[in-house]
């Protein structure tokens, strides 16, 4: 008896079919909106190189200075045998080494960083170059800077009491001004 009475009153408001129809249509509409956003991500991801970093490499953080790719003499900007540019930083408690790096504009640059102590953040501000630097892992980010100039590179992940003063600079120079280097030559732009 309760069910029969209930339908008689409730249905007067809005039929259940209408409710189900609007909700179902709304669900489909939202699925389409989300699908559209995903499609944009996939197309730009395939068209240009617009995706998060993808390179799992480990390295022993305690002995970076003794052997391996991040010995101090190998830090800074280097031209690889195949002509590509690689910039290596060490992010350590409370300073980046080198504190300033020179990079040619509008060429593909490979940034490689690691940390001997705690997690740091690597962020060339106002650009998309933004990644975590986790001790034990090598951060490998490919990027291209279109606008020459000096970029501030703050550590954007909490790394201890000196976190607020930890910042380096990336100096993007026009292609012409970037002098070609010998394979084993490393340069930084040092104090200004």
């Amino acid at each position: 008896m309760a069910e029969q009475l209930n339908n008689q009153i409730a249905s007067g408001l809005i039929q259940e079919e209408i409710i189900e129809r609007t909700e179902r249509r709304w669900l489909y509409a939202m699925a389409i909106v989300l699908g559209l956003m995903l499609a944009v991500i996939v197309f730009t991801g395939v068209g240009q190189m617009m995706s998060p970093l993808s390179d799992v490499e480990t390295i022993n953080p305690a002995t970076l200075h003794l052997k391996g790719e991040f010995v101090e003499s190998n830090l800074g900007t280097a031209v690889e045998p195949d002509g590509s540019i690689t910039v290596r930083f060490l992010a350590e408690q409370y300073t980046f080494v080198p504190p300033c790096a020179v990079v040619p504009a509008s060429t593909l640059v490979r940034f490689r960083l690691t940390s001997p102590d705690v997690t740091h953040g690597f962020f060339v501000s106002t650009t998309n170059v933004n990644a975590m630097v986790v001790p034990g892992y090598i951060t490998n980010v490919m990027a291209r800077f279109n606008r020459p100039g000096d970029y501030v590179m703050p550590c954007d992940e909490y790394c201890g009491f000196g976190h607020h003063a930890m910042a380096a600079r990336v100096r993007v120079v026009p292609q012409g001004q970037f002098k070609n280097l010998q394979p084993e030559q490393r340069i930084t732009c040092g104090a200004q």
Partner: protein, 66 residues
């Protein structure tokens, strides 16, 4: 107030909201909540347009990275 089935909301009747008197204002609800649809569609539309603007004019502008 006729006895209404309410278990979907609470098991003790006095814990459930009172039934609603039918009035002419409800007529417009016959074919679904038009006003709610307008608000929902426009707000989600704004979100989508905002997202597209952010994606193409802020994100892609800041340089390729991968």
């Amino acid at each position: 107030m006729e006895e209404e089935h309410h278990y979907g909301s609470a098991s003790e009747p006095e814990r459930v909201a009172p039934a609603i008197r039918r009035s002419t204002a409800l007529e417009t609800l016959k074919n679904g909540p038009r006003g709610a649809l307008v608000i929902a569609v426009s707000s989600v539309g704004l979100l989508l347009i905002g997202w597209l603007l952010f994606y193409f004019f802020l994100f892609l502008r800041r340089g390729t990275v991968g």
